[in-house]
């Protein structure tokens, strides 16, 4: 089962939030959407969830009964307990009595929330509250699970817990589309989509994205072209879309004081964003 948005364009007034975007989410896999602020990540997720109307394109998604959604906010009702939150959502999806009790116990256990079952959502830590939101999103075993930055702002241990839950959901057959600002998370996904200002810069499995990446990345204390450079730790990385050029004064190879680096996903995302911004006027 594959769900998708195809050739999707979404405009908010004069602003184009999504511009001819096509993303497929196959069942049993995790698709991670990455990009900077205003890249269109949430709009893409909300379009697939039916929360945003398309100006052009199509959406292929399951009925609401088979859709799970964790918004970028807490995703739970602060004045309800953990159990009440789960029961409320489960009730909407038609789960009741023994089936609900068994499912609730299973999910609370997997999310390590059993000791907090009687606590108000407002009293939970950020990580616990996100895990509760995740549990509420999968309580009905959705075919398509949409997670809007599920791990943003939570501690590393909770991130690991959440990733385990996401992986388990995908392993059970759900198609998972999630946005994230953590590129190490995106590398783990089976398929990643890099968005920039509403357009797909690149997408595919991480290994293929990396293999298809054209050009060179160098590092130096001072970049040759500031508009193609960014800071990584104590040094600056620089992108050469056509490869490092050779000039009459410098032999083929790297400019003085620079060394080549093997690009990671962060380099690739920034390099592709710079390539678009330096060639396409905003």
């Amino acid at each position: 089962m594959t769900y998708a948005v195809r050739s999707a364009t979404v405009r908010f007034g004069p602003a184009v939030a999504l511009d001819d975007v096509t993303v497929e989410v196959p069942g049993g896999s995790v698709v991670a959407v990455v990009g900077g602020d205003g890249a269109g990540k949430s709009t893409l997720l909300r379009a697939l969830a039916g929360e945003v109307s398309l100006d052009a394109g199509t959406v292929e998604a399951p009925p609401r009964q088979r859709l799970g959604y964790l918004p970028a906010s807490s995703g739970s009702w602060a004045a309800l307990t953990v159990t009440q939150n789960i029961d409320f959502v489960a009730g909407i999806y038609g789960l009741a009595s023994d089936e609900l009790a068994a499912r609730r116990a299973e999910l609370l256990d997997r999310a390590a929330l059993t000791p907090a079952a009687g606590r108000l959502a407002a009293q939970l830590s950020g990580g616990m509250r996100r895990k509760l939101g995740f549990v509420m999103a999968i309580v009905h075993r959705p075919a398509l699970l949409i997670l809007d930055e599920p791990t943003t702002g939570i501690d590393p241990v909770s991130r690991i817990d959440l990733w385990r839950l996401v992986s388990e959901a995908a392993a059970s057959g759900a198609a998972v589309l999630m946005s994230t600002t953590y590129l190490d998370e995106a590398e783990r996904a089976g398929h990643l989509v890099v968005l920039d200002r509403g357009r797909v810069l690149v997408q595919g499995p991480y290994d293929r994205v990396r293999a298809d990446f054209a050009g060179d990345i160098t590092q130096a204390s001072q970049p040759v072209r500031a508009e193609w450079a960014w800071r990584r730790g104590r040094v600056r990385h620089e992108y050469w879309p056509g490869g490092v050029p050779s000039t009459p004064s410098t032999p083929p190879g790297l400019p003085p004081g620079t060394t080549a680096v093997e690009p990671d996903l962060e380099d690739i995302v920034i390099a592709l964003s710079l390539a678009r911004r330096n060639t396409v006027p905003s």
Binding site: T2, A4, G50, V52, L54, A61, P63, Q65, I92
Partner: protein, 363 residues
Amino acid sequence: MIVKEFRELVRDRRTLAMLIVMPLLLLVIFGYAANFYVSSVKTAVVGPQASQVVAMLPSFFDVTVTEPGGTQADARTLLRDNTVDVAFVTGKTPVPALVDGSNLFAAQSAVAALNKAGDQVKTQVLYNPGLKTSWVMVPAIIGLILTFIGTIITSIGMVRERESGTLEQLAVMPIRPSRVILGKIAPYFLVAALDMIIVTVLGILLFSVPFNGNPLAFALGAAIFLFVVLGLGVFISTISQTVGQAIQTAFFFLLPQILLSGMIFPLEAMAAGVRWIGYLLPLTYFTMISQGIMLRGAPIASLWLPFVVLTVMAVVVFTGATLRFRRDLAPGRPARPARPAHGPAAATEPAAAGGQANTAGTA
């Protein structure tokens, strides 16, 4: 810092409105509406010598009904139905003058004027013999409490859902927007109804306010009024992104109702330019109903006008507000059942009506 503050202020239109509109509003209200002096009272003169008595009455008594064949019972009916504030029953000496005490300020002015007539007139105040302020305020306060719960508390509750992002979550769940709206509103409706009962009973017990009319008619009026104010609350929630904004906006709706509904300042004493605002406010009509039923024992038939106006307001405001809220709740849902989308997912699992598979044309 000062420049920054001004820049923020200019962009915060609601606060700006409070700073500019509110002083103007208060100036206008207190300048034109804050008047306890009633310059004339609607008067009926019944009985065989009605014409002669009408000729003798000073201009303060604005005679709107003259019935030579009328009796004291007819006079009481005119007062009960709020057709007039004062009724003279001619044919006896001294002439009985019946005064509607539920219209406090008119009654006070009328009694003062009648006292000048000495032994020629025998004054009898009906419905509020002691001319107690609490007797006319308690029925109005009931409406104010319903307004408070309906607008401020309801809008806060609904905006909180939006602010916390859970409204977005509800929007993608397989639950009809009408059920979401019903679920959000029903508790406030019930709490407001409970509050109304408590305040009414306490008003009766603590202030000896009478309840002369039909409780069912009162409940019906309160229910219709609740739909109006709940509709206002829902409407406020649709134009507010935060709880703070909702409270600010609700304040704009609440303040005129307190000052211009006739609860504090008599409508008939207001300048015509301000009085019409009072006639646009739902609390004005609920106060007519609550005072009419509780104090005068008026039947629905004699209160048809406020009932009809409130019903029209309820239909317009509640329907409009819930439609706006529904639009916010389901912006991406197709208005018509979605066409089956092309593709492998849709081919094996077509979207249900109101479901997710849609195209730009139907979204």
